[in-house]
Symmetry: C2
Subunit: 609 residues, 2 copies
């Protein structure tokens, strides 16, 4: 983007600040619903900075502009911000103040800090307000930075419901879900639940949309009362939705009416909120009326995580077909590499196309990570056409991909050797394999959380003084977000920064029916990256005098590259686990392969070692 | 005890209740300092019930009496309470209300609930007061149940300081410790710290006492102000203590003056307290004056857990000698069993005597658990002369023991086969061995807590659907309590009962210098019990791009019974860990053995497998 455009936009913003007597403006890269991916309409930080990173906070003052983002984006953001006059604030780097610290140091008495409270998480907003109060500054949470400046702004997503799912497909009626939610509300003495989380809302109403890239959801709000349920959605006028709502006994209202209805609550209400997805605007409206909030994970988030038998039945079949596609793709890569030209992008396109041929395919579940050589060491790498690497018959190729289907949401990563690899690469690959299989084969007592389970995988790497700087697993939705809470698998019980208890995942007990990824990795900067990701279903195991044991069943059935292993590093138990997994892969995938060569490849790729 | 005596004592208590218009009396089995073991003076529940269990709460009403205790004591308590008219409330059993639930169901408007607030933890007291308030009942926290009834009550412990430890012995001066504590107070803006925890007080003042069985401490309170430090202790008049206090710049006052001085604080004070050891009385006095409490683990508890280089130097040598004694004892048992008569008690006496011959021996660190056959399945078994089992040349013998020396506090458990054992026993023994060695050899990143580390050990058992219903490890003091916080090793992040975050151990990060036990076990009710306990020092390992790795070094060097192992269940890595440990045991212990036969035994017991 032309740097002078950015400078011009910031000037326009500063004029507006002067006119409205505002000293500092905060802009966030998120939408009004705490979404992981956002629609173009919400890309306000990109409009004002040219920076395409996720997880951005901008602070604009009369003379300066600052942009905070995290380590995944330092390199790209540096290039994008060049000559814009915006200072890049590298979050987490030594000597770089956090936004909170910066505000604490720079807000002065009498100043006005302004932002759009709809795009700020309520807990962050509370912190900004606290700092401002402490400094004697004022906060305006209703400031719209792009209004009047961003002329060709994309329209707000349509809020169209694209799929009304039958009870047959979802396994549970809206009515039944609401009964369970209201039981939990009663326990917490909540008179209402206010939900801004689109995937929870889609789950409750058994519908899907396509407002957000990769997430099959429509932007919306929901208020659940004791005897009424209201859906607030831009597409409220659609006839099919109106009819569906009538049949299912809920009300449909315009998206903007949500904030008006919020103001109808009074001090006799106790409102259940979620800090992660509720915005500063919502909390402010309620706080201003002295309404008590009950803060906690929504019952819908917890219920949604435990897939019901119908969802599980569909998911197992969905993963079988998705695995079959990936097997055929890996065979193609190994067969073709060194013979025909291929690049990271061409392979991503090939795989994306293969997925799209599946009958109930809707979309990708995230942008395909097709990474060769040193690029695979960048955990969130996305190849860009023209800038991507050509792939040769040597080294590692990593592919992390998934699809949205009407039978489920998938995610899978495999790393394969395309030719010669070094001993160090072989050792690292073996450690990641051991880690992946130990977690997949864990048997554990009911009561374990992700902080316990992480150790099954990570300890195999720690033994060799190696680590990966990400969690081992995340929950996955059913035709919903590929990253879904509340469970996750990660070892850090305390946040190193705050010393406080980490995310809800640390406290979420694993339950049968939860779907979680198992994805340890090793990343060698500038050299190569390895990650092996298998999706697992949590199931009941033995019940005895010690309690209820649980274990995992794989949903993903794709070979782990035997040619990259150093078997001398594996214990007999590790080899047994590998052979058992490969036996299951062959049994699950072979019947779906019609090409003799593919079948021969699978047989070889799943041979006993 | 004669049951009519108990009935008579309860009648006397009820007369007192009537006279003072009290409806319910609560009595706790703890002392005023949250001690694990208590002096005879504090055994008020035993006086009123005949029940010798630890962890008892009694509730006496006009017509009934109830006694709550936990699973360790159900059998003994049932026998002890027979014919006393006291109802045993088995904590944790289905259908048995907790004391809180019982109070909630039975307290009525206008009733008076009374107890001695000095022997009730402040958090439990707060809960009782809350329930009473909710029910419209009153609470009297100054009621002394035994006063006027228990005529031959033992005297209050003397509060005599038996050892003044030089800086040379403790590695750190009182002054230096106070500087660190006051720094932490400043960070929390606390104007004073009120400590009721005897082991912290002994650590701060570099002294020891002998008021409490097995814990080398004197009962005492301490108040740390910005420029003054006060010790409140029954033995305040001792000349040596007066002199020592003068030399070291602290004040010594009578034990009872503590409560008077507490009343001197006012609403400008912020007092640092610890919920686990501060009593209801302390919190009540402060709350009544509207004083803010800062609740949290004391800095002394955290500092004390990280042993300094001098303490570590002494501990290593202390454990070498203690290990040597246990090796010689195990040799004696294996050589003698089946040839000479022996019982659980005779072996405990033998081992206790052997320990007492060590030059700087002070006491046992807890009552020796010398358990044969089915008795070893009782985790806290203590043999009683006359009721103990004769030991024969078959099955398992478990011995869990430790000493207090002027060079440290020890704890160690080994289980050995005395002859034939079944395949199941062999399998269980092997699993416990694998678990113990995996934790001992863990390498882990700084930031791990006991909930992460527990998995190294426990996962080896879970793999076979077996568990042990206790933690894997506890911290250990330096010439102090054998069970010492804040760290521990246990997997449960959430309490199964409350669903809330478990003890402080879950959140305590392991640090170099911490001393912790590693003691997995398997217990087969009515058959046998296996536990292997090695004490470990946490030390620094590699520092690299992933962070600071830590690991453990054993302090305990005693062979693990090779004759009880099924090697076919062990992976190559497990065998490697076993051989490495045994090599170290031989190197450490052999030089101390003068008897050729003992040396030959050690060589055989530590042979490579």
């Amino acid at each position: 983007m032309d740097k002078t455009t950015i400078v011009g936009r910031l000037d326009a913003l500063r004029n507006k600040m002067t006119a409205e007597e505002i000293d500092m403006v905060l802009i966030s890269s998120t939408d009004c619903h705490g979404s992981e991916y956002v629609a173009d309409y919400f890309k306000v930080t990109e409009f004002f900075s040219g920076c395409t990173s996720d997880n951005v906070m901008m602070l604009i003052t009369e003379k300066n502009a600052y942009l905070w983002t995290d380590g995944r984006y330092f390199l790209s953001a540096e290039a994008e911000l060049k000559d814009t006059g915006i200072t890049l604030m590298k979050s987490g780097e030594p000597g770089v103040p956090t936004l909170n610290m910066f505000l604490d140091q720079n807000l002065e008495e009498g100043m006005v800090l302004a932002y759009d409270g709809c795009t700020i998480r309520c807990d962050r907003g509370s912190m900004f307000r606290q700092i401002a109060m402490h400094k004697g500054a004022a906060v305006r949470g209703d400031f719209l930075p792009a209004e009047g400046i961003w002329e060709d702004r994309p329209t707000l997503p349509s809020g169209k419901i694209t799929h009304f799912l039958s009870k047959d497909m979802t396994g549970e009626s809206i009515e039944s879900k609401l009964v369970k939610i209201r039981e939990k509300m009663k326990l917490k003495k909540a008179t209402a639940m206010v939900i801004a989380k689109p995937d929870d809302i889609m789950w409750i109403f058994n519908v899907r949309g396509n407002d957000i890239p990769y997430n099959p959801v429509a932007i919306s709000y929901c208020i659940i009362l004791g005897n009424e349920v209201n859906l607030y959605i831009p597409g409220y006028e659609a006839e099919d939705l109106k009819k569906y709502a009538k049949e299912n006994g809920f009300n449909v209202y315009p998206y903007d009416l949500f904030f008006e209805d919020l103001k109808e609550f009074d001090e006799n209400d106790r409102i259940w909120l979620d800090y992660v997805t509720c915005s500063d605007r919502i909390l402010e409206i309620l706080s201003a009326k002295g309404i008590t909030s009950v803060v906690g994970t929504y019952p819908s988030t917890e219920l949604k995580a435990k897939k019901n038998p119908e969802e599980l039945r569909r998911l197992r079949e969905c993963y079988r077909i998705d695995s079959l596609i990936l097997c055929r793709f890996l065979y193609y890569v190994q067969k073709t590499v060194g013979k025909e030209p291929m690049t990271e992008c061409s392979l991503a396109d090939k795989l994306d196309y293969m997925r799209s041929t599946i009958s109930d395919y809707l979309d990708l579940s995230f942008e395909t990570i097709s990474a060769y050589g040193p690029n695979a060491a960048i955990v969130h790498y996305e190849p860009k056409a023209g800038e991507d690497l050509a792939i040769e018959a040597k080294g590692f190729y990593l592919v992390d991909s998934g699809g949205q289907y009407l039978s489920g949401t998938t995610d899978v990563t495999r790393t394969i050797a395309l030719g010669e690899i070094t001993d160090e690469m072989r050792k690292d690959f073996t450690l990641v394999t051991i880690a992946n299989l130990r977690l997949l084969n864990a048997r554990f007592l009911y009561g374990c959380t992700g902080a316990n389970l992480d150790m099954y995988a990570r300890s195999a790497l720690w033994e060799h003084a190696v680590d990966y700087k990400h969690g081992t697993g995340h929950g996955i939705g059913f035709i919903l977000n590929v990253h879904e809470g509340p469970q996750n698998i990660g070892w850090r019980i305390l946040s190193p920064a705050s010393g406080k208890l980490n995310s809800e995942g640390v406290k979420t007990v694993f339950e049968p029916g939860m779907i979680t990824s198992d994805e340890p990795g090793i990343y060698r900067d500038g050299e190569y990256g390895i990650r092996i990701e298998t999706i697992m279903e949590c199931v009941e195991d033995e019940y005895n005098e010690y309690g209820q044991f649980l274990r995992f069943c794989p949903l993903t059935y794709v070979p782990i590259d035997l040619n990259s292993l150093d078997l001398s590093l594996m214990d007999a138990s590790d080899k047994k686990r590998l052979n058992e997994y490969h036996k299951a892969v062959f049994e699950k995938i072979a019947p779906g392969l019609t090409d003799e060569k593919e079948l021969a490849w699978l047989k070889e790729a799943t041979r006993e070692v």
